[in-house]
Structure formats: structure tokens, C-alpha cells
Symmetry: C2
Subunit: 354 residues, 2 copies
């Protein structure tokens, strides 16, 4: 018998909570029969919703949380109510090992701060990073950091590279994902000293990943590498630029087809093609930011997502648990320290060698 | 009688030079009857091409340049041959005030280095910046720096904001373009200290531009501001990410319409719409990076552009000359120093106030 996976859900986080959360969990449950759910939030709101869900109702417990973290709450405000809010209690249950993972569609800054405090970083990790998917001509790639660390040094970037590589093995099912550092050009001498130092380290023998070298902004969509590593400032700008440009071009196409009657007929005839296009470029498929490097699996769903998008985010969390992602991250970081000739103290809490 | 504008052209720069350069100049000449051209490069290659161009042949002089800057030349190598290369001699003619502006489709790094040395920066400008257009739902915006300065301090960003604002007035024909600083969020406290310092300065009374505040990556395509200001690293990544994403989505659309016979028929019926779309998203319309802050108008055309794209780049240079862009930049920077209570020494070379 497979072990049940316990998923803690922030029942009140997100623009369309709690409906989206409950319906999303129901969809996820159908896909992952070995998952059970604990919903944190207002029982009077959550319980009637749960009772209506075919797959969910027999494998879901509601736990009362008196407070809600709003979108306007600053991280410090969210932290203060971490013991009473639906977000804080859901994360806390992972910290206490009552649940295997937590998913929230709430305020990103609040989630990052609360998860950082309650879960702490994994052994050997200095900074947790926010990772997500980006669409490419080949399917999708992983990109990190997307905003958790505005400034990063070379060591941070190297750690992100290792964590991103393990994450890509888990969620993209790749044995040896390629990893690139985002820069202003592919040539070795390009960019800041930080980037050149990080690249030099990633090229060392024994570093546990397949380093491609530098990549440029245009290489992201071209799928040149499976994992794009960058600091949180650049990653955040790049991710939002992708979103903005996708929206712009989708709008261009939509408008173009309104320009004449022939075009409108063409549009109708091609509606099957449109649906395929929409499926392929569906932002819900890329829903789910993951905080890599925390001592507990924590997935952030887009605030404005629908139930299907939320179900994808849950699926992501469950896949990470099944893959034992965090154990593998700790192992790979230990291999990294070995390759760098550093004592593994940071990785296992004890002096290496001994 | 309007004064003739003399355009110096690097006849040998670009993937399809010299044909594209000569044909582009011919197209530009038709649009700008007050322009005359000086083509630098190999006379045996250029002269027969010029002779075939209807509009160009009577207003174009060819000057021999023995050397060519290749795409593989490092900036230092390009600098060494600045007195004999087509790129260097074309820029030199602007430095000597024999020409009003220079356009090259050659190696960007080489062009920036050579123009920097031969033209120098304008009075009051510490760092020149590379600016260009980005497509938006509203038309187009200006973005800078796109890679000339990998690291920038707050003062650099403030100068870029002033220069970008003047440039947008010139080329977008806006009286009061809005200016935004690219950041990871729109809220005041977001981002690095450098960005917060720059924003604080831009909010001061008397600073000669309309400051909108921080903008995010998704705001670029949404056209939230007319001028997006950022450091050269982030700007380069953002611009290339836009290009990559545009390519990705165009590919998605193209493939979607190949999926069924109905879709193919729809595609044909909608061909008028496609052409409109292509026109609207035509990268040639956004062709031309401009080095703002140099003491001379210098425009970089994409290396792979065609004649029409090159003509756009020439048009951009001519418009900047007609607008007296550089005089206005100097004036606005003087106003900036006044607003900041700094002596105007840097702006006019003499101590302010006397």
C-alpha cells in the first residue's frame, strides 16, 4: 500500500478563495488518489463547499483558522498572525510534520516570509529561491530565482543552479537537465563578476549538474536550457516580461481577426486550432511557484487562478513529495561542497571527515 | 530652404551589407528629401550599387575605408582600426562635424566603444545609454539602458530617465512622456537601494520629466509608461526576453493553424488579418538602437535587418537631428542639476552662478 500524502491547504488565500481552493483540491484528488487534504480556514465557509465535492468529501479535514492574510498585508503583518491565520497554520503543519506539503494562493511576500520563518532552510542551503515554469518552443523550462532574493552573490547562484537542476529532474522528468546562467550574452567574458565567478564554479569537475554556460533573454523561450538561473531581481523582471509579452501578442492576434468578415470566418473555421493554441499557452499549466531550499515543500499558486490552475499547483507539490525532492537537494548540495573542497559541515550540521 | 542633413553610413556593417545599407539609404532618401549620404567602405563594391538606386545616386558620396569591423571583432580590435574602418570613419565624420549623424548595422559592442571614444559624452552626461523601442498595446515605448552599462548607480538611472524622456518627445512625438523605473513591484519600498534612491530623486520638484514611479516587467507590454528606465543588464535581458517570447508565440500561432484542414482554410481566409498582425508586430518598425548621451547622433541598426529596417534606422537618426535632440538633452540635464541644487559645472563646463 502506498503511503498517503497529506496536503495542507491555505483555504482562504487567493482572489477566488475559498471556492477555487476547494474545487481545485477536488480535481487534484481525482488525479492523486493517494492524497488527503487538510483545509485551514473558516469551517462555516469551507465545510459546505467540501460537502459538495464528489472526490474530496471523504478525504478532507477542515481545521479552523481565525485569521486571514490579505493581499495588502505586509510580510511582517502576516508573520505576526502566523499562529492563527489559514496560511500560517497550513505552513505550520508542514513544519510540525503533520502534513507533507502546503499549497497557498495567498500573498507571495507573506508566504515567503512565513514559510522562511516556520520551515527554515534545508541543511546546506543559505537562501531559499522561488522557482517556476516558463513556456518554451520545446515545452517548458524551470527558472529561478523569481524574486525571493533581490541581490545574490556567486554562491547563491551556484546553490540555485543545484536546486533548480534537482527540481527539473523531479517535475520535468529529465535525467540530466541542462542549466544556464542568464546573462547579456553567451560569451564567457560577459556580464558582472558575480556571474563570471558563478560560471567558473559551475564548470568545476564534480559539480553535480550539467552546466551549459551563459544564456540570453531570447534563449529562455527558445528552450536552450532546461533550467535558467538568475538573481531574484532579474528573474522577476524576466518572468513578468514574458507574461506581458504573451498577453500583448495574444491581443495582437485577437484584434487581427476582428479586422474583416473574411478574417472572422477564418477565425471560426480555425477554432480547433485556437483551442490547441490556448491549451499549449495556457498559463494555468505554468501555475505554481515553488520555494526551493526550505525544509518543507511549499508551493505558491497564482492568486488569480481558477480551480484547474490550483489543482496543477497541488499536483506540483505532491510530485515533489513523491520525488523526495528535498532529500535529493541536500544530497546534491553535499556533493557540491565535496566538489568545491569545502567541509560538509554546512550540509549535514556536523564536521565533515571526522 | 531647409538645411541639408548629412547622414554618414557604415557601408560595410551588418549581415547583408553593403546591399542592405545602400538600398536602405535609397528608401530613406525618398522619405527624407533633405538628407544627403556619405557611404564609407569599399568603392568598388558600393559605387555600382549606388548607381542603381533611383533616389540615392545624386545625393550620395562614397568615401573609401580600407578596413571592416567584423561581428567577431572585440571592441578593442575595432578601436584599433577606428581611423581606417568603415564604422570608425563614419563615426569620425560626425565627431569632425562633417556629418550630422551616423548609422551602422555593425557589431554593437564595437560601435559603442568606437562612438564612445570618438564622440565622447555630451556636456553633463556621465554615461551614454543604449535606447530602443518596445512594442506595447498602445503602440510603442522607449526602453533604456539596453546593455551599455551593466552596473548603474542611482545617478546614472536619473540621467537615463532625463535622456529617455527627451528621446520619447522626439521620436514618439509626445509632449510629456511618462517615465517609469523597472522594478520587481510597483510599491515604493520595492527593489534595491539604488532604485529607491533614483526614484526619490525623480520625485523631487523641478526634475524635468513626468515620473510615474516603479513599473514591473508586465507593465512594459501593457504600455503603462512611455519610457522604461533600467540598468543595462536588466534592460538587455528584458529586451531579449520580449524578442524570445514574441518569437515563441508567433510560432505557437503558426503551428496551431497547421493542425487541421479547416484550420488551414481559416488561415487562408484570414490572410489579410495576418498581414495586419505582421505589420503591427514587425520587428523592423522597432529597428534602431540609439546611443543617448554621446556628443553626436549615432544609431545602431540590427545586424540582420533588411533594407526597409535599415531605412527606419536612418529615419530615426534624421528625426533626432531635426529635433536637435542633443541640445535638448543638455538643456534638460542643466535643469536637473538646478533641481538637485548641484552646480551646473558638469553641464556647461564652467562653474554655475559665477
Amino acid at each position: 500500500m502506498t503511503r498517503k500524502i497529506v496536503v495542507a491547504l491555505d483555504g482562504m488565500g487567493g482572489d477566488h478563495a475559498p471556492e477555487t481552493v476547494v474545487e481545485g483540491a477536488n480535481i487534484a484528488r481525482e488525479r492523486y488518489p493517494d492524497a488527503t487534504f487538510v483545509l485551514y480556514g473558516s469551517p462555516s465557509k469551507l465545510e459546505p463547499l467540501v460537502a459538495r465535492q464528489r472526490w474530496l468529501k471523504d478525504c478532507c479535514r477542515v481545521v479552523e483558522a481565525a485569521d486571514v492574510v490579505t493581499n495588502d498585508d505586509r510580510p511582517t503583518a502576516a508573520l505576526r498572525k502566523r499562529r492563527t491565520s489559514s496560511m500560517g497554520m497550513a505552513i505550520g503543519s508542514v513544519a510540525e510534520r503533520e502534513a507533507d506539503c502546503v499549497v497557498s494562493a495567498g500573498n507571495t511576500g507573506a508566504l515567503l516570509a512565513t514559510a522562511g520563518v516556520l520551515l527554515g532552510t534545508l541543511a546546506g542551503v543559505k537562501r531559499a529561491a522561488l522557482a517556476s515554469f516558463v513556456p518554451t518552443v520545446k515545452g517548458e523550462s524551470v527558472m529561478l530565482d523569481l524574486g525571493a532574493n533581490i541581490q545574490c552573490d556567486a554562491n547563491n547562484l551556484v546553490e540555485f543552479a543545484v536546486m533548480g537542476s534537482v527540481f527539473a529532474r523531479s517535475v520535468l522528468g529529465l535525467e540530466q537537465p541542462t542549466v544556464g546562467l542568464l546573462n547579456v550574452g553567451a560569451e564567457e567574458g560577459k556580464g558582472s563578476e558575480t556571474l563570471r565567478d558563478a560560471a567558473a564554479t559551475l564548470r568545476l569537475d564534480g559539480v553535480p549538474l550539467r552546466f551549459h554556460g551563459f544564456v540570453e533573454g531570447s534563449d529562455i523561450g527558445a528552450g536552450v536550457v532546461d533550467v535558467v538561473v538568475t538573481d531574484g531581481f532579474t528573474g522577476n523582471v524576466a518572468l513578468k516580461t514574458i507574461e506581458g509579452t504573451a498577453k500583448l501578442y495574444t491581443g495582437f492576434v485577437r484584434e487581427a481577426f476582428k479586422t474583416s468578415t473574411l478574417a472572422k470566418i477564418g477565425y471560426v473555421l480555425a477554432s480547433g486550432a485556437w483551442n490547441k493554441l490556448r491549451q499549449r499557452a495556457d498559463p494555468r499549466r505554468y501555475n505554481g511557484g515553488v520555494f526551493l531550499g526550505l525544509d518543507g515543500v511549499c508551493v505558491k499558486s497564482h492568486g488569480g487562478t481558477d480551480a484547474l490552475g490550483f489543482a496543477y499547483a497541488i499536483g506540483l507539490a505532491v510530485d515533489m513529495v513523491k520525488f523526495s525532492l528535498n532529500d535529493k537537494v541536500v544530497d546534491e548540495l553535499r556533493r557540491l561542497r565535496l566538489a568545491l573542497g569545502e567541509p560538509s559541515r554546512q550540509a549535514d550540521g556536523t564536521a565533515g571527515g571526522a
